[in-house]
Each structure stands twice: as structure tokens, then as C-alpha cells.
Amino acid sequence: MIALTFRNPATLPILASIMLTLLCLISLGVGAGGTSLADLWHASGDTEILAISRLPRTLAAVLAGAGLAIAGLIMQAIARNRFVEPATAGTAQSAELGILLVTILWPAAALGWKALAASLAAVTGTALFLMTAHRLPATQPYLVPLFGLVYGGVIGAAATFIAWQTDLLQYLSVWSNGDFSGVLRGRYELLWLGAILVAVAWLIADRLTIMALGRETSIGLGIDYARMLQIGLVIIAVISAVTVVVIGIIPFVGLVVPNLVSRLMGDNMRATLPATALSGAILVLGCDILGRLIRFPYEIPVGTVMGVVGAILFLFLLFRRHTDA
């Protein structure tokens, strides 16, 4: 194994910041509108495009990526298993089911109400998963993510069935495959909620780290374990739900980013949280740009690109971990 670790905790965040800035610039310059960055610089291009579409889209990718990475980080701490994440363990699928139900029962609901319904469904679905996950034997670490994947699949199948019966399959595919191409000013701002929750996670980073050491250690250090579980659950669920409502499911971000950062920097969240958020933003924005470029001027949804990139990264992590052990 390459012993690549950053002794200086500032190294990775700085590198990540530089890279993210570059990606943001590229993202602002790439699009079917034909306005290049140079045009924007000389103010000769259509700055409207920038304000209405490209800036919101870039921000949305950054916010969604950072949020999903942190949600994954917290979920892994709570489940005490490195191979789970909200998008594949039933949280996102529950959110999807929640929006679907609210769309059927109350078609005219505003986005905010849909997000609320999605959050509630996500909390329920995730709580159920975590309750089960904690009862699975710790000696078989691969059982928990597997259980999560199939659990998510079953909830997804239920959603598909309902959508099929109610002729909403088209809608469902919008939520089940993340895509930034619909992001415009005024249609993504809900994602800032995710940023707020990331800030909350930063405030309680120490407690989250201790929580990952287990219930007994947490209680021993005077942490209200049950309360922390609830807070973590809400953060995970709301970030996932908001992302599903605005963008759709983006798989693997919450899985691979925390793992990669943990390899480099360890698991002390006070130190790793910024790097994790930044790396999540980089991954999502990078995949979105890739999706815009592969078949320019047509776009490939970020969910599809991430399905390939993320799965490869995940398999890499899996093989590496297995050969390490």
C-alpha cells in the first residue's frame, strides 16, 4: 500500500480548493449557449446566461456534492460501516417514494412541501435501515452495505410499481437519475439548506467522531448518544431529500469521497470534514462537466456519469481494502 498520508492537515483542503476553483471556472465556461469564458471576461458575451443558468448550475453541483459527501460521512459514522451511503442504502429511495406519494395526493404542492415530505420519508426509511444495520453481526462488515443496497432496491421497486400504476413513471425517472441540466436561477436554492446542515455537522464534528467509536465510548465521554443519532439521522435525511427533490439521485458520492479522504487524512472529522465537503463538490462538478463534454452539445445526466465513475472508484476501494487486510 502506498503510505500516502498528509501529515499537514491543511494540505488536502488547499489542494482541493484550488482544484474546485478551476472546475468552477471551467463549469462557467462550458455550455450549449456558446458563451465562452473569454467572452464573459470581456463582457461581450451573454452575461444573462451566466447569471440565470451556468452560475446556478455550478453552485448547485458544488452544494449537492458537498452535502452528499457529508451525508455519507455521517451515515458511515452512525452505521459504523465504511461501505454505506444514503443514495444506495434506502435514504434516497425513501425520499423518492415520499415525493411520489405527495405528488399523487397533492399534485399542486410547492417544492418546499415536497422536500418536507421527502425528508420525512427519508428519516423513516433511514431509521429503519440503521435499526437493522445495528443488529447485523459486526463480524460480517460486508453484510450491512449489501443489506442497504437491496433494501434501497426494494423501496425503489415499490416506488416504480406505484408510479407505473399512476402513470407517473416519467416523473420518477426525473428523481431517480440526478441531472443538473434543469437547474436555473430560482430552482435550486433549496440546496442551500444542505450547506447549512454541513455547517451544523462542522459544529458537532467532535461528537460525530466520538460517536463513530461506538455507543459505549460515547456514553463514557458524556455524549447523549440517542440525541446524536437523531441529529445525524436528520442531517443525512434532509440533505438526501433536498438533493433528490432538486437534482435527483446521485449515487456513490457519499460512498467514495469519505473513504478516499479517510485514506489520506484519517477519521477525525474536525480535520477531515472540510476536505470531504470540498472533494464531494469536486467529484460532482467534475462529473457534471464530463457529462456536458462527452457528447457536446448534448448532455449526459450526472447520475449516469457518476454511476460509472463512482462504481469504478468503489470497486477500487473494495479491492484495495481487501488486499490490505
Binding site: R7, R80, A205, D206, R207, T209, I210, A212, L213, G214, R215, E216, T217, I219, G220, L221, G222, I223, D224, S262, R263, G266, D267, N268, R270
Partner: protein, 253 residues
């Protein structure tokens, strides 16, 4: 003072603890011994509120363990569990530093840093401070966890089989340290031990449990006798005195 009154614990039909009453005054080292399944670990878990009480009451310095806010308790009592697996990728220093959490709630002061430095030195971990726990041997990890409990700087320190994974050198070192912490820092130490001779050598008092009850209680010289040990373990163990210290010799065929 830890006051345990009429505590019982049941899992389904299995009675783990039967009406246990004990007081452990402030100061000194108390060793908890007894055969496997006697209820020692359960008692420790109840005292340290890791498990909730079913019957009876436990107070520490008159604070009931089940109703006092957990945060307050964490400044009063620290516990080292038997299980020493740490899933997180933390360095030794980070882990030991988390022992300060009940005091600093994440805002590390110079005093905290000094305390961590002292703990690393005391437990011979200074050279390992930057290493990730997963790269350590079982014994090194065990020392790191004891150092973390020490850093919590509580009046009461409970340890569940702290000598697990330690070789003879570090076992003795740890027991000497515990003795030192009790004598010089005035802490109260309660530890589950499997080797009664460490109890005989380093503790002020030995409490023996069997089948969920206290069967013997007293200073080592009174307790470590062939009769008492037969009562606890059910076979004859010769005991000899070496430099005034009773030593049990269960090694004869």
C-alpha cells in the same frame, strides 16, 4: 464513594446479577475477580451507565448514575471497555485527545494539550503519537485506550480487564501506573482482573464475584487464601507468601 444498593440484572431467564450491594470508598485500587460469567463486566457497565439499571440503585458521590446528565457523569467516571477494536482511522494522539472531550467540548486549550502530552508520556506512547491505531499491535492499542481513559481525568476510573493483550512487562507497568494514579493523584480505581496475583500485588481490596453475587470481599492478605479461592473457583489452589504478599499458584498438576 460508589454506592451500589440491591442491584439485580436479568436477560430473559438468565440472572446476571442477584441483589448486589457494595460500597467502594474514595481512593485506592479495588480489584474485581471471579470466574467467567460471574457478572463483573455487567456490574462495571451498570456503574458506568453503559447499561441501564433494572433494579436497585447506584450512586457515585451521591449522584445517581441513571438520572444524572451523562455529561456530568463523564467528568466523574471514566471506563475502559474490554473490547479494544477501534474502527475509525484516528491517530493515537487524536484518540487520547478525545478523553478531554467531557471537559473541553471540542475546544482544545493549552491545559488539554499538556494533559494529553503527559498521558502519552506516562503510557510510553510518545513515539507512537502520530501513528494510526490500525497500524498498532493489540498491546499498543490497549495502552492508547487506557491513556484516553486517564486523560478523562475523572475521580473514578473503571477498567474491564485492562491487561488483555499486554505482555508481562506492560502488564506490570500498567498496574504500577494504576497504583501511582491512585496514590499520587488520589483517584479511585476499580478494575476487573483475571490474574488474581496482580490483584494481590497492586490492589488495596479484592472483591470476588460468582454467579452474580459477591462471595468474598477484603484486603488481599485476607482474601487470597486456599479456602477462599476454593469457594470462588471450585478447586484447590496453593497459596504462598513471597515478601509478605500472598501468591496463588494454580499451575500444579
Amino acid at each position: 464513594m460508589i454506592r451500589i444498593e440491591q442491584v439485580s440484572l436479568q436477560y430473559g431467564a438468565a440472572e446476571i446479577l442477584k441483589n448486589v450491594s457494595l460500597t467502594i470508598p474514595k481512593g485506592g485500587v479495588t480489584a474485581l475477580i471471579g470466574p467467567n460469567g460471574a457478572g463483573k463486566s455487567s456490574l462495571l457497565s451498570l456503574i458506568s451507565r453503559l447499561q441501564s439499571l433494572q433494579a436497585g440503585s447506584i450512586t457515585i458521590d451521591d449522584l445517581p448514575v441513571d438520572t444524572t446528565p451523562s455529561r456530568e457523569m463523564a467528568k466523574k467516571i471514566a471506563i475502559l471497555r474490554q473490547d479494544n477494536q477501534v474502527g475509525s482511522r484516528l491517530t493515537v494522539k487524536e484518540l487520547v485527545g478525545f478523553g478531554r472531550f467531557p471537559h473541553n467540548r471540542g475546544h482544545v486549550t493549552q491545559a488539554d494539550a499538556d494533559m494529553v502530552g503527559e498521558a502519552l508520556k506516562l503510557f510510553d506512547l510518545t513515539d507512537l503519537a502520530g501513528r494510526f491505531l490500525e497500524t498498532l499491535s493489540g498491546g499498543q492499542r490497549q495502552r492508547a485506550l487506557v491513556a484516553m481513559a486517564f486523560c478523562q481525568d475523572t475521580d473514578y476510573l473503571l477498567l474491564d480487564e485492562p491487561l488483555n493483550n499486554l505482555d508481562m512487562y506492560f502488564s506490570r507497568e500498567l498496574m504500577r501506573l494504576l497504583r501511582w494514579i491512585a496514590d499520587e493523584r488520589g483517584k479511585t480505581i476499580v478494575t476487573v482482573l483475571h490474574d488474581i496475583n496482580y490483584g494481590g500485588g497492586f490492589s488495596d481490596r479484592i472483591i470476588a464475584m460468582k454467579h452474580g453475587q459477591v462471595v468474598a470481599d477484603g484486603p488481599p492478605r485476607e482474601l487470597v487464601t486456599t479456602e477462599t479461592l476454593r469457594l470462588i473457583y471450585g478447586f484447590d489452589i496453593p497459596v504462598t507468601l513471597i515478601d509478605g504478599q500472598p501468591v496463588a499458584l494454580p499451575f500444579t498438576k
